[in-house]
């Protein structure tokens, strides 16, 4: 960074004063006059034909304005992700068949939320039960009951990358394993919510949709398509949004239904998910069964990898059915593996649809490759770090195309690993572990190391603009949508860096489809690298236009025009008195006396920045756990993360992403799992049964970074939103297995709950020591 730059500084977040004082408005906090409240009636059966729905009792209940089923709505089924074949289309309310517990099949609108909830209880549904289907492998067996008979099977998606014939050779030994990457819930503390008002910006026939979304443009398009409106008549706004982690990326059927209700009733209608609804209705993540085989030499050189995966994509294929493609592209991880043979299937089952959850396909890849590498290290009796070192790609191999088709921009994996080991004091940890094992410490210490590479920013284009307004305020617009990341802060830093203006003269606008012309949204760790680059580039364009205008008016050469130290505008270098303020520059830009060849126009620029390809952040994590051999309680006691997200704009924001990411990965390893019984009934539909870690269950974190800038964008930035999760999960998993390894335990599937670990300890053979 140039000296004097504000980039790279821990600038406090501009978002925070409102959030800290309770002034920020989330969707659930909005209450326009005349508001009505919706409650959805949800299937209590995992799989059934709907023989009839009687809303008569609900219609007569106090305060009820209306009760509706699919028949009343008359809305066509939609694929809730664009690549999904129409045969899997999902009606916004179930019409003929329900396919998971929690699927909405009727809606009641009333004057108060309590009246709506009470009346929803009075809706009677006549089900004809069909067999539940929970296990994705069983779903693909011949003769399995079919969720979508027209599809002919339960296969929803398939991804394959074949090795050359004969390529799976040259090995001395093969290690293999079956790994379950269990189903988890994103569980943002703010559940899904939507408020729809009839009318949009003076258009009485339009709608304004306030929604908990990472992609307001996607919500707009879904509502517009369902209601048969031009997208320009739907104003989608994501106000303060309380976490998403991928699960608020795709629009929900309730958005569409609530918009229909608002138009039908001619008044604003709001729906706020309860937590029990959230845990069965919001998309889940992961849920893979993986079979991995690694062929390697006695010296520890990897020769080939064979991977088979089945993803449980839930009742209606959505984004989750597409995620095995990420798992495939990242299958070989940070390692040089000459041949990879990969095949993944996505199976529909009678469970909540699978969507994106932090990492989205990459933690599944990383956990599996790191697990098989650990098994290989155990087989060879080699230190797992040493085995990794032998096989990591080296910096001079980039750009590097993996056998499964990922083209990776840059990387220095050894350096990240070295730094993580040094920060953790790896040799000392191993020495302490030996001492504790020798003295028979009942707290079993485990050390786990992971090295990872992941992929971010794959959807490589995003809108950004910068405009100097008449009063000199600089407005930056972006098509991405902040929900905790701090875009107002980071984009303000970018504008300030280029134009020299202080933060209070910058306004960042996002998450409103009437205020931003277009965009994709905040998914795949893409916002800073793509939207940030768009803002950065347009700020430079604005600066260049302003410098030419100033040079012309101040009779100086363009090269001598610089930003004023006080942020007020531009001056002639060394002559602060010869200056133009931003309001003067904005006024001058629109007409009159302009340099030769410059057309009058706003002092503004916009771009759809496209970095052309994905970036590949990487890093190394070290986890230290203690397992209580008497209770099976596994605790993460230290976690060291070295993550490389390229050039760092604001370390404070990066730290937040890393800490939260580590926690979600560690939580999957230790605590979290969505469970169903054999009839497809959810067993984890509240926060007592679904265990999010609290502050006593995770340690303070030790984080550091290497900075390997990507050449693909002007900031040199790669995504950091998901790296923490991708790196932490395998490290914590490995640490627990390492703690149990003296008992002869080589693998356990997550999560490492006390009961599971205690049983494994109890059933294991006594230690040979």
């Amino acid at each position: 960074m140039p000296s004097g730059s504000i980039l790279g500084n821990a600038v406090p977040r501009l978002e925070d004063p409102d959030l800290l004082t309770g002034a920020a408005r989330f969707v659930a906090d909005l209450a326009p006059p005349g508001l009505a409240h919706a409650a959805f009636v949800r299937s209590t059966m995992a799989h059934a034909a709907i023989a009839g729905i009687d809303v008569g009792g609900a219609e007569q209940a106090p305060g009820v304005i209306g009760a509706f089923t699919a028949e009343g709505l008359g809305l066509d089924p939609q694929p809730f992700f664009y690549i999904i074949p129409p045969v899997f289309g999902r009606p916004p309310l179930a019409a003929e068949v329900v396919r998971f517990v929690g699927e909405p099949l009727a809606v009641v609108v009333a004057e108060t939320p309590a009246q709506a909830a009470d009346a929803a209880e009075l809706v009677e549904v006549d089900y004809e039960p069909r067999p539940a289907l929970i296990d994705p492998e069983a779903a693909l067996e011949p003769g399995a009951p079919l969720l979508f008979p027209a599809n002919g099977s339960n296969l929803a998606s398939e991804y394959s990358s074949k090795a050359e014939p004969g390529a799976l050779g040259g090995h001395d030994l093969v290690v293999s394993g079956r790994f379950v990457n269990q189903r988890v819930a994103a569980a943002p503390i703010e559940p899904t919510a939507v408020l729809v008002e009839p009318g949009a910006g003076g258009d009485d026939g339009g709608v304004t949709v306030w929604c908990t979304s990472q992609t307001p443009f996607g919500a707009r398009d879904a509502v517009a398509a369902a209601l048969g409106l031009d997208p320009g008549r739907v104003r989608a706004i994501a106000p303060a949004v309380g976490g998403g982690f991928g699960a608020k990326a795709a629009p929900y059927p309730e958005f569409v239904v609530t918009a229909w209700l608002a138009r039908r009733l001619g008044r604003p209608v709001k729906w706020v998910e309860t937590r029990s609804e959230n845990l069965v209705n919001m998309v889940h993540g992961r849920d893979y069964v993986q079979y991995y085989e690694l062929g390697l030499t006695r010296d520890g050189d990897f020769r080939w990898l064979r991977a088979r995966a089945t993803a449980n994509v839930g009742a209606y294929p959505a984004v989750g059915a597409f995620l095995p493609s990420f798992t495939m592209s990242m299958a070989s991880g940070p390692y040089q593996i000459p041949a990879v043979d990969f095949h993944a299937s996505g199976a529909v089952t009678t469970t909540t649809p699978l969507g994106a959850f932090r990492g989205a396909g990459r933690p599944e890849a990383t956990a599996a490759i790191e697990r098989i590498v650990d098994l290989a290290a155990a087989e060879l009796d080699m230190d797992p770090v040493e085995l990794r070192r032998r096989n990591l790609l080296s910096p001079d191999q980039f750009p590097y195309e993996t056998p499964t088709g990922a083209v990776m921009d840059c990387g220095d994996y050894q350096r990240a690993l070295d730094q993580a080991l040094e920060t953790a004091g790896y040799d000392d940890l191993r020495a302490e572990q030996r001492r504790r094992r020798l003295r028979g410490d009942p707290k079993l210490m485990g050390v786990g190391v992971s090295v990872y590479v992941e992929v971010t920013g794959g959807l490589s284009q995003e809108y950004g603009s910068v405009e100097v307004t008449a009063d000199g305020t600089v407005v930056a617009r972006a098509g991405t949508s902040s929900h905790g990341q701090g875009h107002a802060t980071s984009f303000t830093q970018l504008v300030g860096e280029v134009l020299g203006v202080p933060p209070d003269r910058v306004r960042v606008v996002h998450s409103d489809t009437f205020e931003v012309p277009r965009g994709i949204g905040t998914i795949a760790s893409r916002s800073l690298q793509i939207a940030g680059s768009a803002v950065f580039k347009t700020a430079h364009e604005v600066l260049e236009r302003a410098r030419r205008i100033a040079a012309h008016r101040l009779e100086a050469s363009v090269e001598d025009i610089v930003t004023a130290d006080d942020g007020s505008g531009l001056t002639v270098a060394g002559v602060p008195a010869r200056a133009m303020s931003w309001p003067e520059l904005a006024a001058a830009s629109t007409g009159g006396d302009l340099p030769d060849g410059m057309a009058p126009g706003e002092l503004a620029a916009e771009i759809d920045f496209d970095q052309g390809a994905a970036t590949y952040p990487f890093g190394a994590h070290v986890a230290v756990v203690e397992v209580d051999s008497e209770t099976g309680d596994a605790r993460l006691v230290r976690h060291v993360a070295v993550d490389d997200c390229g050039r760092i704009l604001n370390p404070m924001l990066v730290r937040g992403q890393v800490h939260g990411g580590i926690t979600q990965g560690a939580a999957q390893a230790l605590y979290e799992q969505v469970l169903y019984d054999e009839d497809g009934n959810p067993r984890t539909a509240n926060f007592a049964d679904y265990c999010l870690p609290g502050p006593t269950e995770v340690p303070a974190y030790e984080t550091a970074h290497t900075e390997t800038p990507t050449p693909l964008n002007p900031l040199g930035a790669k995504g950091i939103g998901e790296s923490g999760t991708i790196g932490s999960l395998p490290a914590v998993q490995s640490a627990v297995i390492d703690a149990l390894s003296p008992l002869g335990i080589r693998h356990l599937d997550m999560p490492y709950t006390p009961e599971k670990v205690w049983r494994a300890i109890t059933e294991s053979a006594p230690s040979p020591a």
């Binding site: 800290l20 209450a31 905790g484």
Partner: protein
């Protein structure tokens, strides 16, 4: 159904409101009084996003019926700051970036305030247990814990200074 008349103190102000007998205090604060800082994250007392302080005790307002607030003193996140001056915890959270999406933050601030009221000099472990009733999905708690410790430090420094001045 007849509405219940409740008189109590909210953030230091004498307050009256009408509510349904079955309405939670959380809903009354949000819907009747327009104080939407406290959030409903679960409705079952598991996440702490609705935390308020009632007569000095940290409480999940989703588990309290609004009529139970009769005669009580209720403190919500809206009552922490004095005008434009942030509470030391808010200031410390701002400086330490102890929040991301911010939806759990009002509840965590109230839990932290209740903790520092009864223990002005907590250890890191005591802070973690003091906040054990609150879930945050964004931060991993590290920056929150550090910020509470920093706020405790600054509050103690301030009160020591005040004591010294009074003695002098």
């Amino acid at each position: 159904m007849s509405r219940v008349h409740v008189t109590c103190t909210v953030n230091g102000d004498e307050t009256e409101f009408l509510c349904d007998g079955g309405q939670t205090l959380l809903n009354a604060l949000r819907d009747e009084l327009g104080l939407t800082g406290a959030k409903e994250g679960c409705g079952t007392g598991d996440c702490g996003s609705c935390s308020v302080i009632i007569d000095g005790r940290l409480t999940c307002s989703c588990l309290v019926l609004a009529p139970e607030a009769q005669g009580a003193a209720v403190l919500t996140v809206e009552g922490l700051a004095s005008g434009d001056d942030l509470h030391p915890l808010q200031q410390s959270f701002l400086e330490g970036a102890a929040l991301q999406c911010g939806v759990c933050t009002p509840g965590i601030l109230m839990a932290a305030a209740a903790l520092l009221d009864r223990n002005p000099d907590p250890t890191e472990t005591e802070v973690r247990y003091g906040l054990a009733g609150n879930l945050c999905r964004c931060t991993g708690y590290d920056k929150i814990v550090r910020s509470v410790l920093a706020a405790a430090d600054s509050q103690r420094t301030t009160s020591q200074r005040t004591n010294t001045e009074e003695t002098a």
